[in-house]
Structure formats: structure tokens, C-alpha cells
Symmetry: D2
């Protein structure tokens, strides 16, 4: 029997047009295993800052849109830079909004985390903080292989939005295969 086809959504933690992490996110669909579709979520930059007073008047439409897309997906791939040794505020804000939705889109949802950074640790510190948030959200986060792209400026082709380093493209491909298997088993 063929593997069940899967649909993943990708959330990008950076707003910058020339973002290294945007390159990674853009490269994912072409690296996905057969039967796996990866779609970008709408930009999280259009969300207001989380404010319970705004929530009390009704969730912004974009929050519901993000929540529905996550709820309907077989898994969420978060691709993010690290800011100040942690999760970017703008990404955390998106999670803060989605977490308040009554249908808890992240609950039981397979999640895959990737980070790229021009420096030595490749955004790893942001990933462990994000994993802690996922405990509260009751998501199921893939353990391995971790995608921590150090010195990313030398491994990514920003112009072509591709992963130019073979070893990096390889490990990302393996991660997507592992995530597909993980989502099929645990999702």
C-alpha cells in the first residue's frame, strides 16, 4: 500500500525579504518526498501584537486563517532565525495568537523546526525555546535530524532561493523524510 499523502504548512519566522530562513522555507517544496506537499502560510507580519483586549472583540481574520491552515495540515514546519538567543518576537507573537484559538490548532500536531543563521550556532538556541512552547501547546515535535544551519550565508543561494550546499540540502531532505514518517505514525 502506498504511503498516505501528506500536506504540511510552513511558517516563516523572519519578515526580511532577503532572509536566509526564507531561502530555506522556499527550498522545502522541491525537497519534499513523494506524496508530501508543503505550502507556505500567510506572512505573520500582518498580525497585530497579541492583546487580550483585541481578542475579546474577536480574533483578527488572519489569526483564524492561520489556525485553520494549521488545524487542517498534517504537520507544521517552522523555519526561523534566532534573535537574541531566543525565538523572534514576531514568530512568538503568531504562536501567542494561534494558541488562544478555541480549537487549539497545535494540539497533537506534528511539528518540525529548522533554523539558519550566519553565525556559529545556527539558531539552535531559538529551537529549544520554541520546543518549550510546544509542550504547552501539546504539539508533537520531531527530534531528529535537527536542522541547524550554521554559517548559512555560505550555504544558501539567496538569489535563486536554493540551498547551494550539498550536505545541507541532504540533511534537509532527510529531515523531511523523517518528518513525513513521523507525521504518518504520530499525527
Amino acid at each position: 500500500m502506498a504511503d498516505r499523502s501528506l500536506s504540511f504548512v510552513a511558517m516563516l519566522g523572519s519578515l526580511r525579504k532577503g532572509s536566509l530562513n526564507r531561502v530555506v522555507a522556499n527550498a522545502l517544496p522541491a525537497l519534499a518526498p513523494e506524496g508530501v506537499k508543503i505550502t507556505a502560510l500567510p506572512s505573520i507580519g500582518d498580525l497585530p501584537h497579541y492583546d487580550a483586549d483585541i481578542q475579546a472583540e474577536g480574533f483578527p481574520p488572519l489569526v483564524r486563517q492561520l489556525g485553520d491552515a494549521i488545524k487542517g495540515a498534517d504537520g507544521v514546519i517552522i523555519v526561523t532565525p534566532e534573535y537574541n538567543y531566543s525565538v523572534p518576537g514576531v514568530l512568538k507573537n503568531a504562536i501567542d495568537w494561534v494558541s488562544r484559538l478555541p480549537d487549539t490548532p497545535f494540539a497533537g500536531k506534528p511539528v518540525d523546526i529548522m533554523s539558519a543563521s550566519p553565525s556559529i550556532l545556527g539558531g539552535a538556541r531559538a529551537q529549544y525555546h520554541l520546543r518549550q512552547s510546544m509542550v504547552f501547546l501539546d504539539a508533537l515535535v520531531l527530534n531528529k535530524p535537527e536542522i541547524i544551519i550554521t554559517f548559512a550565508a555560505q550555504k544558501l543561494d539567496i538569489e535563486k532561493s536554493k540551498i547551494s550546499d550539498d550536505a545541507t540540502r541532504d540533511i534537509v531532505t532527510k529531515n523531511l523524510e523523517a518528518f513525513a514518517a513521523f507525521a504518518r505514525k504520530h499525527g
Copy 2:
């Protein structure tokens, strides 16, 4: 010789009008030791999401205003809720912006962290993530006494913006004394 007078600024991590942490922040000036002035920073809710493309066109005036106030202060008190077992996105976003200023307002700056939450852990998880960001910013964070206000709805008077619980008011007062001594020694 009298102690050197000190001027602290307080940054609030919640936007909600009825926020428990707003009550704590509002209560601080009256609990400060003699010679210590505590002023609220402008709301971080008016910042755009951090975006390097915006930064490239010039820092928003509010970022510079926050940076100057922090740079000029003898210490920064951060009062924040915990969202999803970590720092609220809106607070992290403010830090992400300020961290990019060329004059590095947080470098060598004494920092004091407080959190309140209606639930069992009082926002403690957010504090340790925030401390990790402060390593990168090269700030000096007070260790003790930690202000972790659990079950805060029963300890705060939202109407009067006061700390109604004696033990809580006491420990916050002691924290401010410790922070003043810390800022005088290490700032």
C-alpha cells in the same frame, strides 16, 4: 554619605488594560526605596514587528526613544506575563528592536525581572528564557529575590492597581532594595 539616587525604567510585557502585570508595574514606584525613582517606558505595543528591511530605512522613532530611556537609566525592570511557557512575542519584539541599536542600550545595564500569572508557576518559565536573551545583550540580571507571583489574581487589586497581598508586597519591596544595591554596585 547618602546612597546615590537612582532612576529605573519599567518595561511592561502585556498590552491588556486589565493586565495583572500592569498592576505590578504600576505598584512599583510607591514601593521603591528612598532615592529610587521608577518610570514607566512607553508602551511597546506601538512598535512594528521587527523587520531588518524597516531597520535599513531607519529605526522607528519609538525604538530610539526606548533605547535612549534604557541607555539613560540606572536599571531596567521588566514586568511580564508568560505566554506559551516563554516570553510574550510583543515583549520579545521590543527587545529585538532595541538590541539592534548601535549604542547597545542593554550592555552592562542592571536588569530586574518580575512576572505574575493567574496560575501555578507565576510566569517563571518566561523569566529564564528572558535571562538567556540578556546574556547576548550583555546585561547584568539580578539573581535574587526572584519575583514570581503565582495565583496573582488573588494577590493583586486590579481596581486600585495595588498589590493587596502582604507577603507579595513585602518581597517586591525587598527585591527593589536588592536591585538598588545591585545597580549601585554593578551598574
Copy 3:
């Protein structure tokens, strides 16, 4: 069809005879759902400190014994105090040893974490550090309900090795039910 019966092993992070966490660990078998057996692992206090030079001469028999028991179990319940805002050295040492075994006993293994402490945060900080180790070990850690027993001296009966507080006994019971379901689904 009846649920598949399960066999869990419990690892205790404290050596002290009158340990609060020992009370919790001892109370588990009687609170387990039908069809679930919980057995204590041998004391981790008899392990040497991890030393790669010792390993090079052969794993101590107790390491193999722990590894085999974990490998053969349907899940591992770790019950631990928090020391210095993190995992006790003695518990981490046991994990350090087991992690070196060639058959990777924790890989894909359902894990449940509980902590008790006489103070305000109930050992929560140790739990999040332990969860980070479990990422490397590729274990599957239950998210909810978290068992964080604050002010544990008032909720446990050390003499009778029982959980005397109703609400605590209740949440531990619910946790074991959730862990059984989790192990059946993901193990």
C-alpha cells in the same frame, strides 16, 4: 477489544530515604490504570560517575541492567527533585550512562516526567532541562497533564508513602491514564 497491557518502569532522581519524590514514585503502582504495571528501576546511586575511560573497559553491569529494563518497558516514568534549578547530578549521570549504550534504550520510548518539591515551583525547572536531554535521546515525552507538585511536604504522607492530597492524587492518576494512552498510540 481490551486495551493492550503495558509495563512501565520508574526512575527516581533522589537517593534520600525520606525523599518526597520517593513517596510519589512509591505511590504510582497503586494509581496506575487497569492493565498497567509500574516497576521501580534499581537505584541509580550505585552507578559510578560517567567516565569514557570506564566505558572503554566495558559498561558497568548496572548500566546494562538499567538499559535492558528501559528497552523492554513500554514507557519510562522519571520522578525527580530539582537541584539548583536543574536536573540532579545523580539522575543526569544515570541518563549519561544509559545514553551511551549501543542499543539506545530511550530512542522512540514514551517518557513521563514528574517532580515534587517543598517549595513554590515544584521542580518545574528540572523538567524542562530534562525534556531537552530527551530531544537528543529521541524519546517521546508526554506533554500533559504535567505533574509539578509544589509545596509537596504538605501533600505527601512520607510515613505511609502515599499522596495524601486529593487533588494531587487525582492529577497523578489522570497523568498515568494519559501516559498509558500516549504509550499505546506512540510507543
Copy 4:
């Protein structure tokens, strides 16, 4: 006026004879700035596992010896590998023991953390966990420059117990200068 001379002690987190971190620790005295002496602490491998029942009968002599040496030093340099994405159990155990001493040797003590690892993240994850323990111990931990030696097997000469990579030796030298200034200012 000449700088005050300083005496630091170094604590090693690995027991292995050929440990990469042992090479780093051994290399420190020769890289210390003028007026700064660095002495190795006794091996932490000879401590028993922390057990409150042992403590109740009296601290082991080695615990007191470690505590006295730390208490008497102007700063503590911890050099450690990372095991399972966190602090080695054996190192944490030493800290767990010392933390119980009534004279709190780490309180107000300048602390410097270094890690080396053969792999991509250089032990960084252990450092942030260790920093969290230092909050409880009320130590003052140097922020920068962080010493995270990635791919350490290529940068260290195990035979000669020296740092063979120029850039690594340079940053360690700068770290020791920064730590001396930090200890003089904050100790």
C-alpha cells in the same frame, strides 16, 4: 596603579583522561593575563553522588575542600563538555554538593564558563543550563566573549595539552582578560 592580582580556580566537567575539555583547562594558566593565577580544583570524580542522608552525617571532606577553594578564589572557571544536550551529571553533582555548604561558596562569585565538543554546537546547550543553576547560586556569570569550541578535535592538541588553533587560543585569551576585568569590577 597596577591591577589587583587575582586567583581563579578551574573546575573540569569531564573525568576522561584524554578529554578535550581537559586540554582546554590545562591550557588556561599559560594564557592568563599578567597578575592572574589559575589553579585546577581537585577532581570532582571522587565525590559521592549527592545524598541528603550522607550530608546529614557530615559533608565529605572533598566537598568542604572544593567549597573552601571556591570561596577563597576571585573567580571560578568551569570547563565542561555537554552530555545529552545538558550539563554532565558528574559536574552537576559537584555543584549540587557545593551548593549545600552553609557558607554558600558561589554567592556573589564571578563565574566563567567554557565548553568544547567534537561536534557542531560546541557544548553551548550545557552552558545555558549551567547559567540557570548559577541564578539559584547567586553567582555572577560573565556574558562575553562566550567560549564555545566547536569541532574541538581539530582545534586542540591532546598530546601537548595545548590549543593548537590560533583563533581559538585568541578568543580564550580575550575571555580570560574579560573575566579578570569582570572579577575586578564585580567580585
